[in-house]
């Protein structure tokens, strides 16, 4: 268990900067998600922490020890691969025992530690099977047991659940979280599934083009995204762009909204974001009795179980609203509506 510190790390493949001056600290025992679109450098960053790639510049410290030049087998890390990478020539128990045997453990201690690790992932009964006789979820558990049985200083997972179907993936997320809590190992989890990142991790780092664009607790990033990219990549957001003056934002289509209190001093081109679930809708008898921040007409709607999503046309600008489906009747398409939100829910974004 250890703190991992990445400082000003860059790595270039040919002319392409895969990781560009990244600095991020992973606190001891934390569960971190690295989130970003495809090609943003998540895997490359993870592989540098593991020791499969070596940074061109910058430093990586595990538990205070500089490891940039330490080969992977000396770093005492655990890694779980996307395709499990179980040794097909060994049984489940032998797979788990491998890392311990390499360290010279044998006999009763070895046997007990393997059994404990398999119990932890609830696979004690399948110890004698070969990997090809297991289901995808079971293989993933073996891979996890194999990675943590050696008590690594840091556990690295590269999209470990992406090969599983949706239902199994949710189960495994819960399971992974439980095991991580139990073992207490610092965990870095790469994913491009934002829901997964939100539900599983203590902290999230968002990558784009090899750079960390924002890092923080899931709620913090979700509620206070620091950029339009962060706002739209993590969850959905309505982006309102226009010109700010006297505490109001004049949208590109001519309508105006109030800025949050701290927006009183800004002027010029400006952008705000608001989450769809923070936009409240109410139907109006007709367009004349308008109130709220904006008015519009329902253009589309869709249902997903307990939620309804409305797309409202406000003078050409489409705004999305997600509402809990209560007892009331749904608002029909074509109905005039007013949109209201709490001014504090409006997130001001830095100029692009």
């Amino acid at each position: 268990m250890a703190r991992v510190e990445v400082q000003n790390v860059s790595l270039t493949f040919g002319v392409h900067k895969a990781v560009d001056d990244v600095s991020i600290a992973f606190e001891d025992g934390g569960f971190y998600a690295l989130l970003g679109p495809s090609g943003s450098g998540k895997t490359t960053l993870l592989r540098m922490i593991a020791g499969f790639e070596f940074p061109d510049t910058g430093s990586i410290r595990i538990d205070g020890e500089a490891v940039e030049n330490v080969p992977v087998n000396k770093r005492r890390i655990g890694m779980v691969f996307q395709n499990y990478a179980l040794f097909p020539n060994m049984s489940v128990a032998d797979n788990v025992a491998f890392g311990l045997e390499v360290r010279g453990e044998k006999g009763e201690t070895l046997r007990r530690e393997v059994a404990d690790a398999l119990d932890l992932v609830q696979l004690g009964a399948l110890a004698k099977r070969r990997p090809h006789q297991l289901s995808g979820g079971q293989r993933q558990r073996v891979a996890l047991a194999r990675a943590i049985v050696t008590k690594p200083r840091v556990l690295l997972l590269d999209e470990p659940l992406s090969a599983l179907d949706k239902a199994l993936r949710t189960d495994m997320q819960v399971e992974l979280k439980r095991i991580q809590r139990e073992v207490g190992v610092t965990t870095i989890f790469v994913t491009h599934d934002q829901e997964e990142a939100l539900s599983i991790s203590d902290r999230i780092g968002i990558l784009k083009d090899g750079r960390i664009v924002q890092e923080g607790a899931p709620e913090e990033i979700y509620d206070r995204p620091a950029s339009e990219f962060a706002a739209t990549f993590l969850g959905e957001a309505n982006i309102l762009s226009g010109t700010a003056e006297n505490g109001r934002l004049r949208l590109d289509n001519g309508l105006a909204i109030d800025l949050p209190p701290e927006g009183g001093t800004v002027a010029g081109d400006f952008r705000c974001a608001i989450r769809p679930e923070r936009v409240h809708l109410s139907a109006l008898p007709d367009a004349a009795t308008a109130g709220g921040q904006l008015q519009g007409v329902v253009k589309r709607r869709s249902f997903s179980g307990s939620l309804s999503t409305y797309v409202v046309d406000c003078g050409g600008k489409e705004i999305k609203s997600v509402v809990q489906r209560g007892g009331g009747t749904a608002i029909e398409i074509g109905r005039p509506v007013e949109l209201r939100w709490n001014r504090d829910d409006l997130v001001m974004l830095p100029a692009a």
Partner: protein, 286 residues
């Protein structure tokens, strides 16, 4: 129900299988049966004297210990050549499959199978030019080294081994390459992340998974080397008398085809027994 489906599958596959089986029957079964027949004849002279059936040719093998001695020598040679091929071929295949990427891999791959491009007889004679005293190797060594060395490997056991290894090495490289390439790089990385050194990874993960390729290559090399006659004859000189050259003599020099055929079948039987005995052992190891 599954049995029925399998049957109909077989029936459908028949038109595809037929040419292959027809060819195998013609190319292997017919000459082989002719040879079985020859091996049972008392004599086969061109003058057409009547010959009778006998097991005498097989008895000859057991009556003269020379044959058994030569057979053992040939098996030994097969073992040595196979071993040398594994020692050279496996690392070469490993570098090719796991270290080189893209164009470099293609280029080196072509170099590896270069021996296949030349006629085997040409290959063997070029070795004789390299290995003999005053030959290319001798001259080159003397040009580099400050002191005088006489270097004459020609007509020796090592020369035979060199020639055979050169001829058969590509089989080992190819079979090892195929099985190494099939090993997912993530497995190697997983082993390394668990603390295994490069050597431990090779021993515990790569070698067991590549074993089928090594075995296939070994079989492809061992069998023809045990019966080889050209390399031993040209490069081995007096020391090059082996089981294979004796068989060849029966066909081309002494014209005792029945004895040659009988000796061949004894070799075939011995090789088959070796393969059968080693198969379960190796399967357990894999």
């Amino acid at each position: 129900m599954t049995g029925k489906r399998r049957d109909s599958g077989l029936v459908k596959a028949m038109p595809l299988l037929l040419p292959a089986y027809a060819w195998l029957t013609l190319a292997i079964f017919l000459p082989l049966s002719a040879m079985v027949y020859f091996s049972l004849l008392t004599s086969m002279s061109p003058s057409g004297q009547s010959a009778t059936l006998t097991l005498g040719n097989y008895a000859t093998f057991f009556s003269d210990p020379l044959y058994a001695t030569l057979l053992v020598r040939s098996l030994e040679l097969g073992l040595i050549v196979t071993l040398v091929c594994v020692l050279i071929g496996f690392p070469a295949a490993y570098v090719l499959a796991k270290i080189f990427k893209g164009r470099a891999r293609e280029a080196i791959f072509l170099l590896v199978i270069l021996p296949f491009w030349s006629n085997s007889l040409v290959r063997v004679f070029s070795w004789s030019m390299v290995l003999r005293e005053g030959g290319i190797l001798d001259t080159a060594l003397n040009a580099i080294l400050p002191f005088k060395v006489t270097f004459d490997l020609m007509y020796s056991y090592p020369a035979v081994i060199i020639g055979l290894v050169h001829s058969y090495l590509p089989y080992m490289v190819l079979t090892c390459y195929l099985s190494l390439q099939a090993i997912d790089d993530a497995l190697i990385e997983a082993a390394r992340s668990l603390g295994a050194s490069r050597f431990t990874t090779l021993r515990r993960v790569i070698a067991p998974l590549a074993l089928p390729g090594v075995l296939a290559g070994s079989a492809l090399i061992f069998i023809p080397v045990v019966g080889s006659f050209m390399e031993p004859r040209i490069l081995g000189g007096h020391g090059g008398t082996l089981y294979g050259t004796v068989i060849e003599d029966q066909f081309t020099a002494v014209y005792n085809w029945p004895l040659g055929a009988a000796l061949s079948f004894i070799l075939l039987a011995v090789v088959l027994v070796i393969l059968l005995v080693s198969a379960p052992v190796l399967r357990k190891a894999a």
